[in-house]
Structures are given as C-alpha cells and as structure tokens.
C-alpha cells in the first residue's frame, strides 16, 4: 500500500524482487544501486548467509525527486528465494505496491520458477485478495545461459492470461535491469489513486 505523508510531503512505494533462489534478485538490486547517481539512492543493506543466499532481505531507498512539493520515493527489497524461508518471504511481501518476479532462464529450472511464482501469488492473494490487477513484471533473467528457457514458457505452464509485462535480462551485466525497474514503477504509478 503506498504511503502518503501529508505533513512531511512524501509519497513512498514499495517494490519487491521475488523469484526462486539464485535467480539474480540481489544482482538486480546491486546493479540498480551501482547505476543510480548518489543523490538518488540511500545505503544498501544486504542480509545474507555465508553462501551468499539472501537470509532475510536486501534493501535500499531511491529518492526520485519532487513533484508539486511532494518527494517521491521507492523502497526496493529482495526476498529470500529458498523455499524454506517461507516466513521471511511473506513478511517482506507485506505492503508491496509492485513485484518483479525474477525467473531463472536456465532450462532445468522451469519447475522452480513455476513453484516460486505460485507461492508468490498465494502470498500476495492472502493480503490483497484479487491480484489480477496487481502491478507485476516477469523478468526472464540469465538470458546468456545455454540451454535456456523459451520466453513465455513460465506463463504457458501457469496457464496465465496474456498481458503480464515481460522483460529479458542479464543482471550480471546490467542488460534489462533498469528497463525492468522502469516498467514496474510505471505499472505502480498508473494504478496510484488517493
């Protein structure tokens, strides 16, 4: 739910990067953090384990600027991908205004992508009820791997209605990363009402 502070004149949106373990959620966030000029970004927090799995979440705020006296901010989060971190995943998804689902394009990971997508849908539906109009972008990451999944296979497997915005990316090089963030941000703003 967007946060509007009329006294401080702030509008804050929460974007969460979801997806299976090692699909590149933290790599997406690191690239965004590295790319943005310092005046636009706050410090990045990474809460990971020794094996570089995200244990709780990664986070940093983005300060986009002023509109009519109101500061516009985005808070970017990743969630742990591993199935056994279900509780922390649910917590971070709470209050999300938009989600980027980072799918791993590695061919043998279709099942994990599908399983993770279903869990994310369940978590969102628990909070929002109908999520058919929820701002969501599906990012096929690791487009440089061979053999790789065909674009559209996750949606087909889930028998999804057409229309979900889809991007391709290689988060390690940054290809497609800013484009994905741009797209999910606009999906959120388009639906923003007071």
């Amino acid at each position: 739910m967007p946060h509007l502070d009329l006294d401080e004149r702030l509008v804050t949106f929460k974007i969460v990067y979801s997806g299976p373990g090692f699909s590149g959620k933290t790599t997406n966030l690191r690239f965004v953090h590295k790319t943005l000029a310092e005046r636009y970004r706050g410090e990045m927090l990474e809460l990971d384990t020794e094996e570089e799995r995200t244990l709780f979440f990664d986070f940093f705020p983005v300060f986009l600027g002023n509109i009519d006296g109101f500061s516009l901010r985005f808070h970017l989060y990743t969630i742990p991908g591993q199935v056994y971190y279900e509780a922390s995943r649910k917590i971070i998804l709470q209050g999300a205004d938009g989600v980027v689902f980072v799918a791993d394009s590695t061919e043998h990971r279709l099942e994990e992508n599908v399983e993770s997508f279903i869990m994310m849908q369940q978590n969102l539906a628990e909070e929002h009820g109908d999520i058919s109009d929820f701002p969501l972008v599906l990012q096929y990451n690791k487009r440089d791997v061979e053999p790789r999944l065909e674009i559209g296979c996750v949606e087909r497997h889930l028998k999804m209605e057409p229309g979900i915005p889809v991007t391709e990316s290689i988060a390690t090089t940054g290809y497609g990363v800013m484009n994905t963030l741009n797209l999910v941000s606009k999906e959120i703003i388009r639906r923003f009402r007071v």
């Binding site: 946060h3 636009y40 410090e43 979440f57 986009l64 915005p165 703003i189 639906r191």
Partner: protein, 172 residues
C-alpha cells in the same frame, strides 16, 4: 490501489519529544509495519532512520512468526541490549511500532513505563478520522498531473540507456 496517508506529524512528534526528555533516551521513532519511519525525535542526524525502519519492521514481523510457532499471537515488546546502547521496540496497535534507543541500562523500567503510557495516546491519534486524512490527501495531490510527472521522473532516472540496456520489454 488504495493509499495510507499520515497527517499527524505534529501531535506524534510532540509525544516522541516528551518521551525522549522523560527517559533521557537518545532517540525515539515511530515506524509503520511496512518499514517506513513516520516520525522521530531526539538525536536523529547520525542515525540512518530509513534503514533502521526497514530492519526493525522486518525484525518485528519475524518475531511475530516466532510467537505464532510457540503459540502466542505476538510478542508486544522487543528489547536488544548492547555494550553502550539499547533498543526497546513496542507494538502500537497492529500497524505501528515505537522504537526507543537509550544508553543507560538502568532506565529500562522507565522506558518501558513511559512507552506504555504514550502507546494508547499514539494509537488514538493514528486511528483518528481516516476519512478526513483521505480527503486531505485528495486535496493535496492533483492526481493526473502527479502521475504524469512521476512517469517522467521514472523515465529520467530509471533510464533504459543505463548499463547497456536495450528495449527488452514486451507483452506476452
């Protein structure tokens, strides 16, 4: 998409200032369950309150899951003790948290008592007249223009040109 608006900074800020003075604390913050810092008092310049709010909200939510596992609905207070500084976190209703950072260990009782005392006042302020704040929000923000400017900022700052991006968006 609905919005949660906050319009009580002066009243909440006054209560937090009073709490800091009364307990000789370093700082006090009011944080939403979504991890946003709504109000702060005391020494706040050296504190990254944005990051602190995100972490505390996560911590408290995780503790709620722990409470459920052991058969409690939630734990209403969290206390972290350090070498020099301590942090006392208490739930305000089910959507907000009050964070107090203090140095003198022997003041734990005072902090606990004072936070409990202002909790109900804070809750009353935060739950007051949601219709009025929604109306104020509608008056303050001119919607079509805000959306248009916000889209422009997104295009400028999250630019497709960054990092060797090309047009990779499509609709499936």
């Amino acid at each position: 998409m609905t919005v949660r608006s906050f319009t009580h900074a002066a009243e909440v800020g006054g209560l937090l200032e009073g709490l800091v003075l009364e307990t000789h604390s370093v700082t006090a913050l009011l944080i939403s369950r979504e991890g946003i810092c709504l109000s702060k008092a005391g020494l706040t310049e050296s504190l990254n309150s944005t990051a602190l709010a995100a972490l505390v909200a996560g911590m408290f939510a995780a503790t709620r899951e722990v409470a459920n596992i052991v058969g409690e609905e939630h734990f209403s207070i969290l206390l972290q003790q350090g070498e020099k500084r301590n942090i006392h976190i208490s739930l305000i209703g089910d959507r907000f948290m009050l964070v107090v950072v203090f140095e003198d260990n022997s003041r734990i009782g005072l902090v606990r008592m004072s936070t409990r005392r202002i909790s109900s006042e804070l809750q009353a302020i935060l739950l007051r007249k949601p219709d009025e704040s929604a109306e104020a929000a509608r008056e303050a923000l001119s919607m079509p223009a805000f959306r248009e400017y916000a889209m422009n900022l997104v295009d400028q700052i999250f630019s497709v040109g960054a990092g060797g991006d090309s047009d990779a968006a499509s609709g499936s």
